[in-house]
Assembly symmetry: D2
Homo-oligomer: 416 residues x 4
């Protein structure tokens, strides 16, 4: 298709290599791709997808494409497009790409609108910008949509708000809520990639350092576990006493940020709330302390406060800015307080996206197969699909597990 709008078509080859490497680490999607390859279950189906244009997304999009779908791919963020991957996808007949790294805000929303105007049967989204655009600006098109998927917590919240007001125009599968997604990407994906981001940004030795993790949700416990695994002495801060207690029982020190701020060498926030590390804490910190954020928004470390108490700042390594405080001490802020695993490293490894995108692909099939049977609601991923993804993942790792005997099934049932 010649209607693609991309920036560096010449990087096509680079893109292909990246995608091929990703395919090797996304065996679940590849297995699913193959399984339905011959029956072309999406023949004639039009899909608009607003996703980060990365090598992993390419593996999903190519899967939908070889199943017969026509696809319009727009980005889910103006900065996250990998131009070589975009170039590679744009070469494929039934795929239109409108995405490049460094789009302006106008260009980004134009791409979203173009994706909506593609008149899709199925809508795949990551953050719900496309869903919302369809609902608010093109309800006529939206009404004809068979169904949609949503990848993120934020997106699901926005769509549930619509549902509550009875304004949702098509059924949506909350891919985000699959156990095989959220239990794995936060803990194992963000856990590892946050360490990776800190190392790439600073090359510090983690062993022996006092690392302070704010928040003991899925992300926080993933990070705490990996920091411990690298030899750090980990301190957890929490506002929820039950989670705080779990952290203690897991062998971590727990204290207030007030106390932790005096002794920490590295601070990582993962709370989902604002101003977790504030001026009052920064002023306590040791000379040379490092600040990073692993939460979704760059509001957890108060950069505003940091600027306010500083005399000057200077980038001393890529993604590492040294702030000289008025009290004479220095603090190092990584990636401007944005998600350190995305800014300073490469975000989720392919293996993590594998399960999430397997759920995407299967949810598209589910929507098609249940066309007309679903209400205009936000649905969780069907539990057997969730199980199926986990099963395939195990299979691709060469792992077999037990099955219940008929007697065991009976016992469990009688018990209930």
């Amino acid at each position: 298709m010649n209607s693609s709008k991309i920036k560096k078509p010449e990087l096509f080859n680079e893109g292909n290599k990246k995608i091929e490497f990703a395919e090797m680490h996304m065996p679940v999607v590849m297995k699913i791709r193959e399984r339905f390859l011959r029956e072309k279950p999406l023949d004639g189906v039009k899909i608009s997808a607003a996703l980060h244009v990365t090598k992993e997304t390419a593996v999903l999009i190519k899967t939908l494409s070889v199943w017969g779908a026509n696809i319009f791919l727009s980005p889910s963020n103006p900065l996250s497009t990998q131009d070589d991957v975009a170039a590679s996808l744009a070469k494929i007949d039934n795929i239109v790409v409108e995405a490049w790294r460094g789009m302006s805000s106008e260009e980004y929303f134009m791409a979203i609108k173009d994706a909506a105007n593609f008149k899709p049967d199925i809508v795949i989204d990551d953050g719900a910008d496309l869903h919302i655009t369809l609902h608010e600006e093109m309800p006529k098109i939206a009404e004809k949509v068979i169904g949609g998927n949503e990848e993120t917590t934020t997106g699901v919240i926005r769509l549930k708000a619509l549902e509550k007001e009875n304004r949702l125009l098509y059924p949506v599968i909350a891919v985000n809520n699959a156990l095989t997604k959220f239990m794995f990407d936060n803990r194992y994906g963000t856990g590892q990639s946050s360490i990776d981001g800190i190392l790439r940004a600073t090359n510090i030795l983690i062993a022996g350092k006092r690392a302070v993790v704010a928040g003991y949700g899925w992300v926080g416990r993933g990070i705490a576990l990996r920091l411990k695994g690298m030899g750090a002495r980990v301190i957890v801060t929490e506002v929820d006493p039950i989670k705080a207690l779990e952290a203690v029982m897991d062998g971590f020190d727990v204290m207030t940020m007030e106390e932790a701020s005096k002794i920490g060498d590295i601070f990582i926030t993962a709370t989902g709330d604002i101003d977790v590390i504030r001026a009052e804490h920064m002023l306590n910190m040791k000379d040379g302390a490092i600040l990073a954020n692993a939460g979704h928004f760059n509001v957890e470390v108060s950069v505003k406060d940091l600027e306010k108490i500083s005399d000057s700042k200077e980038e001393i390594r890529e993604n590492t800015v040294k702030y000289t405080l008025r009290n004479g001490k220095h603090l190092f802020l990584l990636g401007e307080g944005r998600l350190v695993n995305l800014v300073a490293a490469e975000g989720h490894p392919s293996e993590v996206m594998d399960m999430s995108f397997a759920n995407q692909a299967l949810s598209v099939l589910y929507l098609i197969n249940n066309k007309g049977k679903l209400e205009k609601k936000v649905y969780n991923v069907p539990s057997d699909q969730d199980q199926y993804v986990a099963k395939l993942k195990l299979e691709t790792m060469g792992i077999k597990i037990d099955e219940l005997t008929p007697e065991q099934v009976k016992y469990l049932e009688s018990y209930k």
Copy 2:
């Protein structure tokens, strides 16, 4: 009170020492005891409790007693009474105890009936035998009960069945469902005490051994974690692919019991299902393999199968029986396949019971304070009570945690 029926009143002193030691390790109950001490909130309240008569239970019962209640204590199991503790409690004015180690079945049910006939305002139970007796045999008494607590999963299931049929005669708090109970006792309590049981029964070196844990629920993951912490090479078996995948991501080997049975040195079941280790597995096992169970019922390791394939058996250490199989190999069964942490060690440490019994005490207050306001349903522990217990626990450990600032509260709310 002279109406107590116990066996060894002369052990009163021993019992006191034990209770005192438990009090030292149950600071949450002690804090709660003290907080309401002066107001005597249970003045005039009659409580029947069917609980394992242990030092930890004594700490709870004494708490209710100093709050003013009159208490009738019957056992929740014919074998679990500590006679010295019973002797100690029976010395207290407003407590009647009818419990001794080794009661016959008749004696046990007589004690339950006597507890019912005590005409309690509040009923505390561990397994629901007392609740059921009241409902089925003495509905007149039951109708006057203000409310009850239930400590176990099994008991809650039985009571929910009653609720479903609209036959529940008073409101019940499912203490079992408190996060501060089930998330802690299974993982940290059973996790540790199962290792303890295996060591007391066998004194084997765990480091370097291949330990097979069947089931990766709360109990299974607690045991797997502790075995890893003692240097074992841990294998997990599961039937649920999602849990299996978590086990892999947590760094454990996962395989079928068929495969694991050939290489394991120690096997521990924690599945809640029957016949997890069967003859077919036992015949695969290495000479000298050790079999233990940490699940609630002694059905997980098929003792029947083991007997069937054996030529002879012999107790070689307390709680360790050597089976000589017809194939010439030997297997060691711990504690007859019953809960190894209870049979060969001492069950939950006091610290674990602390939170569970704090919930018991607070739930009694809640029932009294909400007299007449609750429906005849099974209620979860109020979430703020759950949080409060965790908070007290942290306090008693000398741990302070953060509180949300008004801005943070606002941000979280706006987000939703």
Copy 3:
């Protein structure tokens, strides 16, 4: 032989069962036993052994016996004899046992003397009392000894002192110095059994507790690792800055005992020095703190100081004494400050003794095979014997390892 002096010959059967269980967990000694079984390499050899009369020692002694030796077994400590094991060994024709639990000091030294008067060709000792007796009181007999083994650090130090003064009368193999002994028994054996001892003595929950380990030698790091594995928050104290730094890099908190004494819940000493925990520390401690020792002598926790600052004491569980301090707080001392793994648990598991006693058996053969070729010195275990023991251990665990190719051997040599 009827000359054995034991206390409970009727326990013969019990002893047999214990020994059989030990044999199952000492596969290396059993393999070595079998390998030389037919050639009877000790035919006509007289051996005097002063060892703890335990089931593991029995496996060694029986091995020497079936190889043809005549053996006289005396204890290495008046309290450590297991009477059932002694009964079992005394039934064997070519073994004389003079040992019972609770010997008086006189009886103990008489047994040592009788062992010396046995006129042994080979002397096996654990602590060097027998070696020293031979050297100091019966030099005539000592001069005819072919050689000896010594199991402990203490014993080796005493014998090296003799060697230095040219007073050693026969060659001695320092079995203690085998890598397959000291690297394994301290770290993995004492590491596990100290946890075991604490649990049996107190049944406390380790998870979440602050555990203070004094000393980061082999024993200390074994204990620290296992405590961490059980969920404790571990603090290490050290006097050697290099070891202290290792502890930090391994993720432990390190501080002075002065600081640690204020926050610890459990204290375990493993330093080899006196007065590691003194009055000044005890007075800092939290109410309810637990004190235990894992070092060889009961001098590390100053019991003298504890007595001095206490008003009263009371045993509240087996091996747990509650001290009430004049400042009103309570401290719990385990096993009177003696080795907590021996007093409150069962010391080294058989698997750990397996390697040590394999070295014993092989060293006896080495002495016989090199009769007349060795100088009157203290020798280390031959390195190939050490390797051989490790190799057998791996084999018995079903583990195969790589061998160097000729090219690899050549490369390594050329490099040097």
Copy 4:
């Protein structure tokens, strides 16, 4: 000095920033620098140093320079120079730098010769090229050298060979042998940076992967520990049965490379020997397996074999080459089989070099202070210097440790 030969003097500013960041993470060198700052202990001393020209080396060189020394800095490897750091150092008056990234072999040896011709009082070397050049080509100059340091194992071996033949012309301190060097840089430095290198090269998820570590020396156990800490299922291969047994007791699976090659996802060699992973193993491997080396030389993974059994190869990410084998499978080789932590990451973090270079600086002082008193031998770092470095390190981390009381010292002495 204008005689410096560098490539990019304009990067002076960049270099300064890097050095400043390194200074912040090398507090031990900085403390030592400050302590002797006023007395200018190297006033008039000429030093030739052949070291990797990195930011950490700059911290050392600047330290020697502010102590008054005149320094000639040549590289220890043609590829390891950071041009910005060289530019920064060249700006300093008493420092001559002759180093740039990508020197030819001739240029490299010319720099070494120029360093020798500087007629140094003190020689600092990393690999012994400069020491050897002085001994073999300029003995006249060598004879006037007061003493030298050597940073590496390889260098120490070469110098000990000279010593053995009585050809060593000045005393040398084997900085490499300091406990505060080799025990820390291999385990904690290479352990972490190898993980870092693998992540930067591949961005794979480590959790759940089967990682095979060849060799369980200091480097191997560091890597194994960190891989476990990241959630991998770790397999160790070894040729030494004692180390193999330690690995098992530490909870790792141990097997032959033959077996491991069939199931591993990632392979990392750390043996110091050639051809650890050969064609026979590669042919066994799973499609997509990853090969990396952490040993000093690129001989451990046989690249020759890999080339031989492959049809084609292609770089698919920086430092990741995909080999397509004739059997159709693909293997990924990282960094051409060279040290993955240096090639794909940044080698040792500054914190690790801190201790090593503190030893360098102190050893220079030691040589100066003991001028004329030392023999022409290879000396270990004085033990009190080693302790002192550890002590300073702890201090800079804010950690205080205990000191022996006089009574404790006495007890320890009496014991010996």
